[in-house]
Structure formats: structure tokens, C-alpha cells
Symmetry: C2
Subunit: 255 residues, 2 copies
Amino acid sequence: MTEAMGGPLAIRPDYPEALWIQARKLIVAEITSGALEAGRRLPPERELCQQLSISRVTLRKALASLVEEGVLMPSHGRGWYVAAGGASVEREWPNSLESFTETAARMGLEPSSKILRSEVAPGTYDEAEELGLAPGTPLFVLERVRLLNGVPIAVDRARVPAFLDDRFLEPDYTVESLYERLAEAGVSLAHAETTIEAQKADAEVAESLDLKEFDPILAMHQLVIDDAGRRVLVSDIRYSGERYRLRTTFSRSMR
Amino acid sequence: MTEAMGGPLAIRPDYPEALWIQARKLIVAEITSGALEAGRRLPPERELCQQLSISRVTLRKALASLVEEGVLMPSHGRGWYVAAGGASVEREWPNSLESFTETAARMGLEPSSKILRSEVAPGTYDEAEELGLAPGTPLFVLERVRLLNGVPIAVDRARVPAFLDDRFLEPDYTVESLYERLAEAGVSLAHAETTIEAQKADAEVAESLDLKEFDPILAMHQLVIDDAGRRVLVSDIRYSGERYRLRTTFSRSMR
DNA sequence: AAGTGGTCTAGACCACCCC
DNA sequence: GGGTGGTCTAGACCACTTA
């Protein structure tokens, strides 16, 4: 439709969304629509600024955010280029912190859960230390088998400081997303310190995931921190090695 | 010795390093030195600008880069805070693409390699497709056992388009870093699309890593892309499940 | 020499938090 | 209402690429 970034791309200064995010979406749209193919050069920054009616600083904020995701590549003195995998904007599993529910939605599969444990109990010494609480502080413990289209994929053991809100016990976590409940409670997740390793399935996990003991599993441990810097969730997820593949993008830092 | 951000932090406008990077380093220094503890609030932006003699835009670029690494947390209307794990600035490089050699250096261990294969050979169909080359295009294949302090940690099978430079064959990859050779050849690595899964060790890998067959391994597949958007390296690394733990930070995107 | 990205500035206005 | 971060602008100068 629009010739490559030539059309009247509309940015609305009054719209309650940052201009650079609007700009970002318009650029992504140009790429996913095919108007800008992988390897092609974008119009010069100063030209884009005019087309979008935004300042260069704002435009560059949008462009920078797309570099981080590997969609664009800047080349000093030459221009901005659509990266090799540029068309993959939608396909891609972004390197974001994502709930199981969100992952499932993106892949077009039906998530569900079987609850193994759901209660408030005193935290262990290690749990308390990791969450920065006194040992024995009550934690909400939610242990679930996570399934996609009915196939068991992982066992997830999540622990949340119980002081957050009693209403955490109420929802039916067979279908509800813990992340969404946290969001509703005003907890805005920021980032997660994560370790990942390969282990053998123990008897318990093998049972839950319908595996043989000693089958390989991907063990992911996460400490999730919210916008206020509070340690808010500790989670251990053991994925079936055969049924799950983690996808992410690593960037070279400080260039 | 400087009281929290009160001392004469020196930024040199003539120094050949971006001001925001200098600012960033000074802030990190305040944190690692203990002058700014986890949870503490930073001086207001406008005050920091004066102290550092830089503009607010530039300061915010430094601050933003530290948010991405989980070192600082902004709070609208309240201030900037040192994140819970603030002292961890040195420990890890979240989400960074790092060579085995660099990882070893960061951990204070001695890296070495045993070469299993080092030759130019036509790529398989899959390899060619992933690198965006014609099937059969010659690739430089380097397969090594990677060791830390003499202990085998992983088997790494790297493939680089051979057209890059013949000199790739010359170095002694028992000690040399492939990443460094690439850098010298003018290839500047930008990011890597990565998949991670748990598998069983096959006989070959078990042999190389001194494991039993069927022991769990962490299999990481990477397609590395350079600054120019060229697909430059495909790598399969199989880590011993017991001797390796991947550590990273996932961020919640688009806040 | 012209074109293009990279960095930086000074100043403005808004939204949120807390008193 | 005053303090603080969040966003945006217009313009300047530098460094790299290409011809």
C-alpha cells in the first residue's frame, strides 16, 4: 500500500501513547507488511522525522528500541537497515519476561494447569533469604503442572510473599494467570534474574510430566523483581527437555 | 570516599568516550564502592546534571542503560533507586553475548580447548540455509572441547562462512578465541538468536565431556549476526548439565 | 564534498508522588 | 504546591561513508 515509508504515516501527538512508541509501531508495520524487506535501507533519519512529524531525538528512541530486538541495524555514515531476520518481528519469541500464559497465546496453543499445591506456608530459610524476608515468613506457594493443548510441558513452583494480598488464594489457577493476578494487585513486574541448567528428572517430576526418571529436564530458576525494586516472586520451572525449547536473543553489550 | 554522589565526579568532555558512558561508569563506581547502597535514592536528575556538567538527556541515557541491567529503578515522581541486587554490577552481564573466553575471564578461571575438528568443508543444506548461503558453500568448521581449569565443560561446534578470511585457519584455537579472530577480521558481533534445550548426551559428547551416555546436557544453538546484519556464525554448544549453569536477566519489554 | 548516523545541549511541558 | 521523573523539541557539531 504505502510505498516504502513514503505514505502518510499518521502519528497523533494527542493520543495517549508516547510518540516514539507510535513511531516504532509504524516502522514495524512497514516491515511486517513487506513494504520494507530485510536488507533494505530506511529513509534518512531527518527525512523520517519530517514524514512522522517528530523530532530526531524521538525518532532515534524508536529506532534504538528496534535495534535491541534485532529488527534494525544502524550503519554509521550509511543508513539504517532492516536486519536479516527482520520479517520475524511477529514470529519471534522476544527476549522478554513472559508468563506461561502469554507464551501459549503467542504460539496459538491452549494453556491449562493442574494444581499440585496451593497454600500459604512458612518459607524455607533459602526462600526467605532470596526474597529478602525473615525466615518463616508466610509465603503463598503455588505448584502447578503446566500443559499446552493437554500435553504436560512443565512443573512450576511459584512462591509469593503472602503479605501482598489475601485474594491471591481465591482465583482458580487452573485457568488464571499468576502474572495477571499480580498485575491486578498493582505489582508491575520489571525483570527476572534467571539461571538455567539441564538436570535429570527426579521421580516426582517424572511422574507429573509423564516422563521416565532420569530423562533430561530444563530447570529454570527465577527471582522476579517489580518496578519498585521489590523481590516479589521466586519460581522454579522444570520443563520437559523433549517438549520445550527456550528461545531468546543475546545482544553484545556496550558497543 | 566521595560522599554519595556529592564529590567532584569528573567528566571530561574532550575525552574520546561518550559522555553518557563516562556518566554511567561514575554512577556504577558510586554503587560498587558502597557509597550508594541497594535501596538508596539517587540525587534528583537535575542535580546530577549539574554535578556531572552534562545535559539531562545525556544523563538519562546513562540511567536508562543501567535500568536495562537491573542496577537502577526509576520511580515516577519519587526518584531513582539502587535496585535490590545493585551490588551485582560486576558479577554478570545480563543478556549479553559473550564468548567462552570472556565468560571464563569474568569468572576468574583459565579457559582452554581441545580441538576435535578444524577444517574447511562444504556446509550441509541446513547450515547453508541458516547462514543464507547456497548449499555446499565452504564453511570453516571448528569443533572444540572447552575446558575451565582443565575440566571439560562443553563441546562447541562453530561454523563460519569461509569466504570471510583464509587466515581463520592459521591461529592455534587451543588458546585463541574465535570471537577475537572475528573481531580482528573486522566482524563486529551484534546479537545472537538463541535456542536452549535439555537433551541426553549421545555417545560422542559423553566421551568428550567425560560423562555417561544419557546424562543431561544443555544444548544451546546460536545464529550470530554482525553489525552489518550479516549472518556470520552458527554455533552448537553442548554443556555438561552438572558443570554449567546459564545466568541471565530477562526484562519485561515495553514499559 | 555531500550525505548520514552519533552525540550533546537547553529548555519546555506533562504526569505522578507526597506534603 | 513543590519536587521528581517522562516525554518532546529544535538545533548544533562531530565522525564515518561514499563518490
